[in-house]
């Protein structure tokens, strides 16, 4: 009945072994991302969001459950997602443009084509004049833009963004959210986004999965009702404020009682 989902996790569990103890991190997580959908994983720090990404990226295998990408079983296989980590993770010895083009080459894009694309898009996001600079001359916000662009241009089925703005100051962060929203709304890709900011989740996403503390379970799935393109003052709406309150309560309930 369902059309093929870009990303589908069913019953994914993972534990780590630490000093002889088994530490459950993910507890039967099932979720999906549709074509062109912006889905957010919202969960407290340490709940296992990055671990989930490592499983989706195929860097690690789940203990249980399966992961499929664009309808194909991909559990434990790398090279099927694009990724934007929390730190910009640009290579300091490559120019900004080369950082993007080499990532595209990794995905099988032809070298010349990759270079052209990198340049064209850098000027499109008004970073054309730093294309030949080394990343260290860029501000933190600019580095994140480059990092996002790099993920966006990779021809992969799913984009995984792991708290991309967590390291930025509040002002830059709000600006980056607007920027990302605009860019994404004109280039709809299937996105799985991780954050622990409720507002950020509500501003950006189509759907939100709320995770509990570790071991992470899905507490609730929320469909965000605000229309696209999102208004920049969406956070002033009554509905927004109520939704935010709901989620906050949910997260507090999900917390084990403090003894």
């Amino acid at each position: 009945m369902s059309p093929i989902h870009k990303l589908e996790l069913s019953g994914v569990s993972k534990s780590y072994r630490r000093r002889g103890h088994l530490l459950p991190v993910l507890d039967h997580i099932s979720l999906h991302v549709r074509e062109g959908e912006f889905v957010t994983l919202l969960g407290p720090s340490g709940s296992g969001k990055s671990t989930l990404f490592r499983l989706i990226g195929g860097v690690e295998r789940p203990d249980e459950g399966s992961i499929s990408i664009a309808g194909k079983e991909m559990t434990g296989k790398t090279g099927h997602v694009s990724y934007m980590p929390q730190q910009a993770s640009l290579f300091p010895w490559m120019s900004v443009a080369d950082n993007i083009s080499t990532a595209l080459v990794t995905c099988g894009v032809e070298k010349k084509e990759a270079k052209e694309q990198a340049r064209e898009w850098l000027s499109r996001i008004t970073l054309g004049d730093v294309a030949d600079e080394y990343p260290h001359v860029l501000s933190g916000g600019m580095q994140q833009r480059v990092s996002f662009l790099r993920a966006l241009l990779m021809p992969r089925d799913v984009m995984c963004l792991d708290e991309p703005f967590a390291a930025l100051d509040a002002l830059t962060r709000a600006e980056m959210q607007r920027w990302l929203l605009e860019l994404w709304e004109s280039n709809r890709r299937s996105v799985l986004f991780v954050t622990h900011s409720i507002e950020e989740a509500l501003i950006l996403s189509d759907r939100i999965y709320v995770l509990s503390r570790a071991p992470a379970r899905i507490l609730r799935e929320i469909t965000v009702p605000f229309e696209r393109p999102r208004r920049s003052d969406v956070w002033t709406l009554q509905e927004f404020v109520e939704l935010k309150k709901d989620v906050l309560e949910l997260l507090e309930e999900g917390e084990p009682a403090i003894v």
Binding site: F53, R54, G57, G58, V59, T78, G79, H80, V81, S82, Y83, P85, Q87, A88, S89, F91, P92, W93, M94, T102, A103, T106, C107, Y134, P135, H136, V137, L138, S139, G140, M142, Q143, M154, C160, A167, L168
Partner: protein, 256 residues
């Protein structure tokens, strides 16, 4: 630029002046400690011979460094890709570095004769180590978050090496190279001293036999100059190759 040059030039000049003055003041006999002017004079007198030996030493040191660097890089790469071999041979390699030069050199001469090969082998043994060890550290300790990024986007082992590990190891390689070049010339000299018919080491050997201490000091000056030349070349190469590091005083991208 000027600020970097003035202090060392000044300190060396002062050192030479003090030396000169001390020799005059305590009227030391030249066969105990010749004064700098006497040394310079002696160097000028002997210049054609000295130059010939300097050239020989330079050539040998250059060959030794080149072979040592090549060996160092190859060893680093092999040990990087074969971890069990790394743990197996690491103690042996470290042991090889603890054999004193004055033992190693005569042994090698005994085994390989007085030709070029024992000296070259000696130099390779000495020169490869700083390169191999620092480069190995660089290859292994490449930024973990960059490693994670490449793994997540599905980069191959080859891409991991070319895009991350090799460039990340370059600064380590150059600090190894600078250590190697510092050692190389004096190692060549020891080898030449022990068995050769040319080179500064041989020249030194002759001059000591003849109690020509001023000439020996002149040879030392040449050794220092050669070592500095090698070191300077390594440092220059480093500056040419590693251009991505922020210059001091220029603040890079801010990140938490």
């Amino acid at each position: 630029m000027l600020r970097n040059i003035v202090p060392p030039v000044l300190s060396v000049t002062v050192f030479l002046l003090v030396w000169q003055a001390a020799c005059k003041m305590f009227s030391l006999p030249p066969y105990m400690l010749p004064d700098p002017l006497r040394v310079a004079e002696r160097m000028a007198e002997d210049s054609s011979l000295l130059l010939k030996h300097v050239a020989a030493t330079f050539q040998l040191a250059l060959m030794g460094v080149a072979a040592g660097v090549a060996a160092g890089i190859i060893v680093a790469l092999i040990l990087h890709f074969v971890p069990w071999l790394r743990s197996a041979v690491a103690p042996l390699i470290v042991m090889s570095q603890n054999i004193p030069l004055i033992v190693l050199a005569p042994l090698l001469i005994m085994w390989f004769g007085f030709g070029l090969s024992p000296k070259l082998i000696l130099l390779v043994i000495i020169c490869f180590f700083p390169i191999a060890w620092s480069m190995l550290a660089g290859l292994r300790h490449a930024e973990p978050h960059l490693r994670e990024y490449l793994a997540m986007i599905g980069a191959s082992r080859r891409q991991m090496l070319l895009r991350l590990e090799l460039p990340a190891s370059l600064p380590y390689f150059f600090s190894g190279l600078k250590i190697t070049t510092t050692y190389s010339v004096s190692s060549v000299v020891v080898a030449e001293w022990l068995g050769s018919s040319k080179g500064i080491g041989y020249y030194l050997y002759l001059k000591f036999k003849g109690y020509d201490i001023a000439a020996a000091f002149g040879a030392v000056a040449c050794i220092i100059a050669l070592s500095l030349l090698f070191y300077g070349a390594a440092a220059l190469l480093e500056r040419l190759v590693i251009r991505w590091r922020p210059r001091t005083g220029e603040k890079g991208g801010r990140q938490a």
